[in-house]
């Protein structure tokens, strides 16, 4: 009997360590969904008040002129208040983004402006300036939009409504009135066959996303890739409880002076190290599963409850739940936990107390986080040589590379990364066994440790 009793003891101990279990399982499972809910709440529950002051006096225009403008179609020769129509359109747009928005239109110039988060002032000559048929009278008209700054107004909800107002006004300006004016000007030049777009946008930019293999991909597929990158943050999440466990399991045994008894027993040092490592894997499995569950809820909440586009029809990226990526993520997270434990074990073995183990271990954990952050924005291979050497010595790097390789569809690349990760993990475990077999574990680096 060697390894089995150590695993048994560590698992018993772990199962009663509520704080570590809480950190490992409950937090990853609820933190991300909670974050998503908070984002939704921040957007939807923040009371946003939009006030539109429409000072527009209107203008008499023939129905023919109104036909090309979708939201004015059907209007007959009469006094048209364009400001009011635009105000209604703005309210429609902001209500789509945030149904709880309180929006009011005040026609004319009020004596006092009511309380607002976003204020829009449509000028008196709005209709007259925009609905003129005489090219020599073409001019710009100014709509003022006020964003009330202040702690209570800096919420995501107000910002989104403000942006929606701006986007809607720009859309109306470019798609309807600019086109209309260009058509009139082209007619003056007898160039009726020239499409207005040829004047408005002589250069059209056509975008296309392609994968690293050169294959064309859709925005949805790009969203999938971005989602996979987002998942890299989980590497840090699942690593945190490992530090708590390893610190208690090694430095805690030193503190409680149970380690000497264990080391003097017939169990081999290798079995002591492996037993603690295997128990950390059990913790890792729980953490990885909890993390995946949390992520699924997070992505679902973000995609279904959080408005990501201001105006209907505008392109946007959404986070995507791809079962293969989620499965790979779970597997890689398990490997991450294993390599985190292996990375921390030799370091923690050299500390004298749980407190110092957690301090130094916390610092060491920051190194993989830096790699993850870099990988979020760039390719690890683009690092300077010295940084690249350091990065490739850390097993977590291969977790990032494995996910990258999976996105490229290179399963051989995934296997290579996983094997590299396992080799480094094994090497780190071998170092820990060496430390356990040496006196440093008891005496520390300061060999002047007091003995009686």
């Amino acid at each position: 009997m060697g390894l089995k009793p150590v695993i048994w003891k560590e698992l018993k101990d772990l199962s009663r360590d509520r704080k570590t279990i809480l950190t490992a399982v409950v937090l990853p499972a609820i933190m991300l969904p909670l974050m998503a809910q908070l984002l939704v709440l921040a957007q939807k529950s923040t009371p946003v008040r939009v006030v539109i002051i429409n000072e527009d006096k209107g203008s008499v225009v023939p129905a023919l002129l109104l036909q090309p403008i979708p939201f004015l179609q059907g209007k007959q020769l009469q006094r048209v208040n364009l400001g009011l129509e635009v105000a209604k359109l703005i309210i429609q747009s902001v209500k789509r983004v945030n149904p709880s928005v309180e929006a009011i239109i005040i026609n004319g110039t009020p004596k006092a402006v009511p309380n607002y988060n976003v204020l829009i002032i449509i000028p008196k000559d709005f209709s007259a300036r925009l609905l003129t048929l005489d090219p020599s009278s073409f001019n710009v008209t100014y709509v003022e939009v006020f964003y009330r700054a202040g702690p209570s107004s800096l919420g995501i909800g107000v910002t989104q409504v403000y942006q929606t107002v701006i986007t809607t006004l720009n859309l109306i300006s470019k798609q309807y009135f600019a086109r209309e004016r260009v058509s009139i000007l082209l007619a003056c030049c007898n160039a009726t066959k020239v499409p207005p777009e040829a004047v408005l946008s002589p250069i059209v930019v056509k975008t296309q996303y392609v994968s690293v293999t050169g294959k064309r991909i859709s925005a949805a597929e790009l969203g999938k890739m971005l989602s996979a990158k987002l998942l890299l943050f989980s590497i840090f999440y699942v690593s945190v409880p490992v530090l708590a466990f390893i610190s208690d399991s090694i430095a805690g045994e030193k503190e409680r002076k149970t380690l000497e008894t264990l080391l003097a027993s017939p169990v081999s040092r290798r079995d002591v190290v492996l037993g603690k490592f295997m128990a950390s894997l059990a913790l890792g499995i729980l953490a990885a599963v909890a993390d995946v569950v949390g992520l699924i809820f997070y992505i679902q909440t973000i995609n279904t409850q959080l408005a990501t586009t201001a105006v209907k029809g505008m392109p946007s990226f959404t986070l995507t739940l791809d079962p293969r990526i989620i499965a790979l993520h779970g597997f890689v997270m398990l490997l991450v936990v294993a390599s985190t434990a292996a990375l921390l074990m030799p370091i923690v073995s050299l500390t004298d107390s749980v407190r110092s183990a957690q301090s130094i271990g916390g610092f060491v954990q920051m190194i993989p986080l830096l790699i993850i952050l870099y990988a979020m924005y760039s390719d690890i291979n683009t690092l300077p040589l010295s940084a690249k050497i350091l990065a490739y010595a850390i097993p977590h790097t291969y977790a990032v590379l494995a996910i990258d390789q999976a996105l490229k569809g290179s399963w051989l690349g995934v296997a290579e990364s996983v094997i590299a990760m396992l080799i480094i993990t094994a090497a780190l475990l071998a170092i820990t066994v060496k430390i356990f077999e040496s006196e440093i574990l008891i005496t520390g680096f300061s060999k002047k440790r007091k003995t009686s």
Binding site: M1, K12, T261, T443, T451
Partner: protein, 247 residues
């Protein structure tokens, strides 16, 4: 052949030489006491015998096994209770015993026998099934002692087994050690600052000061040698003779 032979042990930590040629022998079935002031080298000596530390020079033979050359083999016949060693607080008393029984035994039958012996030695009643974090210090020490002795080691090494315990708990621990040796015939090396305890428990005693053994003998022999009425007085005189310092 002696059960334990400690020959010319030297050990330093950095520039400080802690052991300066410690030598003594322990006979089979004997309770041997190692007595000395703080910093004399007691714990270092016991750690070397229990394979936790290695000497810079010298050797320790336990039943013919060189503990430096064959530590794995030596650990099978040695059981060590370090000074102030605690128990696993998130395990019950029973589980603590089971863990060490599993480490020392070959099969489940042996595990059960060891646990049974451990429960008897610990004598904690129903508390044996409670988490040890609910135990008093005395209960935890009894459990630690039970964990050390239940495996019936050929050599039990006890570093200040009653350190920090109240009078009643100390009496109980001493009783357990005495009964254990009587029942099993095992050999015990213990260190202590309590001269009454040493006099009550030990067949022979070694005085250690400044990393050197200064005197070895039965409590009676030592008292006679230093013309003292009790062991404490003998110890103080012995240390004064060598170092000119009090204990």
């Amino acid at each position: 052949m002696s059960a334990v032979e400690v020959r010319d042990l030297w050990r330093s930590f950095g520039n400080k030489v802690v052991l300066k040629g410690v030598s003594f022998e322990v006979d089979e079935g004997e309770i041997f006491g190692l007595i000395g002031p703080n910093g004399a080298g007691k714990t270092t000596t016991l750690r070397i015998i229990s394979t936790i530390l290695k000497p810079d020079k010298g050797r320790v033979i336990v039943w013919g096994i060189d503990v430096v050359k064959e530590p794995a083999k030596a650990r099978k016949i040695i059981s060590y209770l370090p000074e102030e060693s605690d128990v696993y607080l998130r395990l019950t008393g029973y589980e603590n015993l089971k863990f060490f029984a599993m480490l020392y035994s070959k099969d489940n039958k042996e595990v059960e026998e060891m646990i049974e012996e451990g429960i008897r030695i610990a004598d904690l009643g129903d508390a044996i099934n409670r988490l040890t974090k609910t135990y008093s210090k005395g209960m935890r020490r009894r459990l630690a002692l039970a964990r050390t002795l239940m495996v019936k080691p050929k050599l039990a090494i006890l570093d200040e087994p009653t350190s920090g315990l109240d009078v009643y708990s100390s009496i109980n621990v001493r009783k357990v050690i005495k009964e254990f040796v009587k029942k099993t015939g095992s050999t015990v090396i213990l260190s202590s600052h309590n001269m009454l305890e040493v006099e009550y428990l030990c067949d022979r005693v070694a005085f250690i000061a400044d990393g050197k053994i200064i005197s070895v003998g039965t409590p009676g022999e030592l008292k006679e040698a230093y013309g003292a009425e009790n062991l404490e007085e003998a110890f103080v005189r012995a240390v004064k003779e060598v170092k000119g310092v009090g204990a």
